[in-house]
């Protein structure tokens, strides 16, 4: 089945279109969206096994020869990201059943999520730079819907800023693609890579590399460009926040990793050095924010920024170890951020506030929630048997191998800050004097807690079974480290 790699894009798209037809029938909306996501996950797993056994899957739409049509490429990195974003979407939809509310559900909430997954999966799978822009717009347009759906004052106010920033960064993306097209004369990513190597990366290509860093940095929230993220992400309801926090910035991070390992590899002295410095500054900025707030949402949101910095530090090292660590950490971060936001959502639903100072003593009434949160917090910080450990270990090791002693020390120090920030939530919310809680009925509590707990379980399996995952991760890192396999898969024997 040669079209297999299109299924993770086509299935959510197809079912989202069907869901548009009957917005008020909530039962059908819920069932179909879960079925659609489960089908997507099944086909993605089949695709992953196919990529594992047969190597990179590439197809050029309409049977045109490779640089002329739009190529879709599924290497191990993209298929792993597609799989983890589909899993996150399943749990977010499950969580939404009992938290998002009927008004939102009957106004195209589920089609919005499925269209966003279409865009995310498409952006991970595409092999054409302009097609990537289009998929970015697909996911951004759906995210505009999801961030403003409900129309509360705070949502309206913050979505204006969110849309403005993204309109500007999209225009910059178009401008950058125009410049790149005028230099290399092609849009196919593999072909761009070949052409840049042929002209030996002159100065203008370095300028374009920095422009790409600005564009994708605005999407992925790196140091000077993350200013829009904390307040925008705090506005929408929890399931939407979990979806955004787990997926949207990661698309920008993926795009940076892809362009910086595939296109701009010849003159790394400037571009990758810049990426490294910016990623370290991103970590510092995220750490300051994570410690500064007493608002649980804000603390986790700033942890997104820290994770973006850690992943990009690994990507900037260009050693195989560090790239593998980045891939490990990227997938881990998608899972754990989804889980943490859902757990935070349960805490907010119980206490009715997101202010840490007004919480306390939850461990007496909700012990399971407390211990699950503790496991998730340890996983985020990278305590050895859990999921964050291997990725960070490999990134730090790769940093040492590349001779960046101080960068690696920053990564290690940031882990302490991350641990402190999430443990503060644990200490304030779960220890201490019990406060008045909103009595959730047990069914609703179970419906909210179960998806979050299972997602934490996934991240624990991810950490404990990392030995088993190594072949997949090293395949993904191999393609990043060695782009000639990617080019060969797309362009044929070239």
């Amino acid at each position: 089945m040669i079209n297999l790699l299109l299924f993770p894009i086509l299935l959510p798209f197809f079912f989202a279109m069907i869901l548009l037809l009957f917005p008020k029938k909530l039962f059908l909306q819920r069932t179909i969206s879960i079925v659609a996501l489960a089908l997507t996950a099944v086909f993605t797993i089949i695709l992953m096994l196919k990529v594992k056994s047969d190597g990179i899957q590439a197809i050029t739409l309409g049977s045109w020869p490779a640089p002329f049509g739009i190529s879709m490429v599924s290497d191990m990195l993209s298929v792993l990201l597609v799989l983890s974003s589909t899993i996150i979407a399943i749990f977010v939809v499950w969580y939404s059943f009992s938290s998002i509310g009927k008004e939102r559900e009957s106004f195209f909430y589920y089609p919005g999520i499925l269209f966003m997954l279409t865009g995310v999966n498409g952006a991970f799978t595409t092999g054409d730079i302009f097609n990537m822009f289009v998929f970015f717009e697909v996911l951004l347009m759906s995210s505009y819907l999801l961030i403003v759906l409900g129309g509360e004052k705070v949502q309206l106010r913050e979505s204006i800023k969110y849309i403005l920033v993204n309109v500007i960064s999209s225009a910059l993306f178009v401008i950058t693609v125009a410049y790149l097209y005028s230099v290399v004369g092609t849009l196919n990513m593999a072909d761009i890579s070949v052409k840049i190597a042929q002209i030996d990366q002159p100065g203008i290509i370095t300028v374009i590399a920095v422009l790409f860093l600005v564009v994708f940095g605005l999407k992925g929230a790196i140091f000077p460009l993350f200013f829009w993220l904390p307040s925008s992400y705090a506005a929408p309801p929890i399931p939407v926040l979990a979806l955004f926090g787990a997926l949207l910035t990661k698309v920008g991070v993926y795009a940076i990793m892809r362009t910086y390992t595939l296109f701009f590899t010849l003159d790394q002295g400037f571009t990758h050095e810049l990426l490294m410095v910016l990623s370290i500054l991103t970590i510092v900025a995220g750490c300051i924010g994570a410690l500064a707030y007493f608002d649980v949402k804000k603390i986790i949101i700033y942890n997104i920024i820290i994770a973006v910095g850690v992943i990009l530090f690994g990507a900037s090292q260009m050693t195989e170890t560090a790239l593998m660590g980045s891939v490990f950490y990227l997938i881990h971060d998608i899972l754990i951020k989804g889980a943490l936001f859902l757990l935070i959502g349960v805490i907010i639903a119980i206490t009715g506030t997101s202010n840490l100072r007004k919480m306390g003593g939850l461990i007496k009434t909700y012990p399971m929630l407390g211990w699950t949160y503790l496991i998730a917090a340890f996983g985020l910080a990278g305590i050895p048997p859990l999921s964050g450990f291997v990725g960070k270990l490999l990134i730090v090791q790769g940093g040492f191998e590349a001779g960046n002693l101080w960068g690696s020390i920053f990564i290690l120090a940031s882990s302490l800050v991350v641990l402190l920030s999430v443990m503060r939530i644990f200490i304030y919310a779960f220890w201490g004097e019990p406060v008045q809680v909103i009595k959730l009925d047990s069914i609703q509590y179970r419906n909210l807690f179960t998806p979050a707990a299972i997602l934490v379980g996934f991240s624990v399996i991810y950490g404990v079974g990392s030995e088993w995952l190594v072949p997949y991760m090293s395949d993904a890192a191999e393609v990043l480290y060695n782009p000639s396999t990617y080019i060969k898969a797309v362009l044929g024997g070239a």
């Binding site: 302009f130 822009f133 289009v134 717009e137 951004l140 347009m141 505009y144 403003v148 129309g151 004052k153 705070v154 309206l156 106010r157 979505s159 204006i160 849309i163 403005l164 309109v167 500007i168 999209s170 225009a171 178009v174 401008i175 693609v177 125009a178 410049y179 097209y181 005028s182 849009l187 705090a234 608002d295 804000k298 997101s354 202010n355």
Partner: protein, 113 residues
């Protein structure tokens, strides 16, 4: 010709940045319109302004304009049209709800909304 176009596009970007840094929401949206005009003209210019006939296959014509940037522009125009329509309606809704179009008054922290 490309030089002239570059100056025009640069002027459009300048105007767009100036408008987007102003206080009124409607000026900001006009700025995004100018920004997308500039971006679209830039694709056209960067594709090269050579070619003497439109990219429609006709007998006896050999010198066509580059068709690819035109397709890209068409895509980008439709996308920015959709986003602008959404943005305008959002601005209208938030004018009704928040009763201001001044971006300086659209601040808020978690303590007071």
């Amino acid at each position: 010709m490309e030089i002239v176009m570059c100056f025009v596009i640069g002027f459009l970007f300048m105007a767009a940045v100036y408008l987007m840094l102003s206080k009124s929401l409607l000026r900001i949206i006009i700025g995004t319109g100018l920004l997308s005009h500039g971006a679209h003209l830039l694709i056209l210019t960067m594709g090269g302004l050579g070619g003497s006939s439109p990219p429609v296959v006709a007998p006896g014509v050999t010198d066509y304009a580059d068709p690819l940037p035109q397709a890209l522009i068409l895509t980008a125009i439709v996308i920015s049209f959709g986003v602008t329509a959404f943005f305008l309606v959002l601005a209208y809704r938030s004018y009704q709800e928040l009763e201001t179009d001044n971006m300086n008054l659209m601040r808020g922290t978690e303590d007071h909304d």
